[in-house]
Symmetry: C2
Subunit: 337 residues, 2 copies
């Protein structure tokens, strides 16, 4: 089943079921007005939405055209967004670029940060930025949306709570990160609103690419129309989603609709730090990673995002069909009213 | 106007308007079913709720008995909870206790962390804790709930967006903090679910104790029935609420219903680190602060919270009447189902 939220005059938009090929959708207000409402009562709403999805494929269900441009993030605002750093290769590179050793515990103890969740960008919304000097970067990631998870959940319980998967652009302001992290309380201003893919899908839509913990497909990250990242989300993911969820639930329950992110998808490959797509490598899911490799080699060359730059993040199945639709965002100057 | 959320069978509870003396309340489902719904459309709902509040005082409005025990946190789950450290005295003490210098920028650049907001405790709910060794501590604070705040809002705009004030127990796990902050991404497991006062009030309820930026009243923090903290929330608050809100909105908008906390209320007094209430001082709004003073004097003596300990956090007006009702929570052993 594939779900999306259409923009309307409300803050939470309107839930629709989307056809597998992303061309058509059906309104489901009689089941749940919003995705959060469906997640609040998934045991009841989930099976009913699945029947609509079936009808949509067979043609038995009234449908309308689905346009990715009309979609908000599946949860336009959420109660909980926590982002892991499951690709520890990425973290190790960050450290190496500034000549810092990564603690060995990072390979066994997941790193996660509490993100802002009240104002997600729609997948085709511009990224509004006040100042290019803040060092805007994309971070291409996979995320899951979970059902209620009790405090102290075991990894197996965490696995069973995964309801939906989707993609995310975890927008980052690299120029603000060092000073903010130096204060010791984590990210705040340096992590503005994130954007999610137009469509969230149930795990069964992914076939054997989803093994219950990792998604074994390439994350396609394009910068200004050129391939920038083709990293496989199933490779080098040190902590799978059930581990991240269990970590998040150690001292508090997670409420249905909680979104847990993978962190920037990053492949090590051949034991080295990765190569650009143009050189036959898997590339990078964020600019910072390429800059780190450039730094290790001498000095960073690739600039962060400028006004007018466009980022596209997508994932295709083995037949080449888009699974989640595309995040495609252009950076624009923010002019305050 | 005073507002509360009564627990019911739903996740968000039922909004009621509460009488000034906290003894009676009126259902307002015809205006807004939940507090979030009221905040989503405050321009419309706010004046209508205020008319109910008037009728409640004059007796013109049907009412029922209000019991603080029946209340959830005013927003049982919220889209955004960010907590400042506005009482820099508190931060300076933390650092001094571990022989670390506090950067001078801390006096000019607000410190804030992104908190978990999906599963707030009700004001009389127990605090469920798996392991006493995690070092459970209360943190008594004041918080505001804001309307929509645009990205880049000026301090004056931030001031105008304050809709409600309330109290908070920002529950902390001191034993988990050092290792978590050492990882560099801020608090996560070390900040489990917070609890808020039974009642949230509009600024006009506070008379001249509220100056538009700070709340000039003592925060009453009791531990096991004895006065532990009597710090004045209007004293030594280096950054007032409009400053904290503007800081939070620097790179992203804040959605209506965002809760911004003051951080642990802490008074320096006489230039010194403060004295216990029993010695005529203003005491402390968290145990950690007393332990820091004990550490500076030699070694920490006061233990963190144990199973069975009870914390009470309240604030009274100049006539001695409770403004927000009381947070009163007992620590209990968490037994996972």
């Amino acid at each position: 089943m594939k779900l999306a939220t259409l923009k309307d005059s409300t803050r939470d938009g309107k839930l629709v079921v989307v056809s597998k090929d992303l061309t058509r959708c059906s309104e489901v207000g009689h089941i749940a007005r919003t995705l959060q409402a469906a997640l609040d009562d998934w045991a009841h709403a989930g099976p009913r939405l699945a029947r609509v999805a079936e009808g949509l494929e067979t043609g038995a269900q009234p449908a309308m055209r689905f346009h990715e441009h009309d979609a908000a993030s599946p949860l336009p605002r959420a109660y909980h967004w926590a982002d892991g750093s499951a690709y520890v290769n990425h973290v190790e590179l960050v450290r190496r670029a500034r000549n810092a050793e990564m603690p060995a515990s990072f390979w066994t103890d997941p790193l996660i940060y509490q993100g802002g969740s009240d104002s997600f960008l729609a997948p085709r919304d511009p990224i509004l930025l006040e100042d290019e000097a803040w060092g805007l970067d994309m971070e291409g990631e996979v995320a899951v949306i979970v059902d209620d998870v009790p405090m102290g959940a075991r990894v197996e319980e965490a696995r069973d709570a995964i309801r939906l998967l989707l993609l995310v652009n975890d927008v980052s302001l690299r120029g603000l990160i060092p000073a903010e992290l130096a204060k010791g309380f984590g990210f705040y201003q340096s992590k503005p609103s994130s954007a999610f893919s137009p469509v969230a899908v149930t795990p069964d839509e992914l076939g054997d690419a989803w093994d219950g913990g990792k998604l074994h497909l390439s994350l396609l990250v394009d910068l200004n129309g050129k391939p920038f990242g083709r990293a496989d989300a199933g490779v080098d993911m040190t902590f799978d989603f059930p581990r991240l969820i269990a970590h998040a639930a150690k001292t508090r329950p997670l409420v249905a609709g909680t979104i847990i992110g993978s962190g920037t998808v990053s492949n090590k490959l051949d034991g080295g730090p990765g190569r650009p797509v143009a050189e036959g490598g898997a590339g990078y899911s964020c600019i910072a990673e390429l800059r780190m490799i450039e730094t290790i080699a001498g000095a960073p060359q690739t600039p962060f995002l400028k006004f007018g730059d466009t980022v596209r993040i997508e994932m295709k199945d083995k037949a080449g069909h888009s699974i989640f639709g595309a995040i495609e965002q252009t950076v624009m100057k923010y002019e305050k009213a």
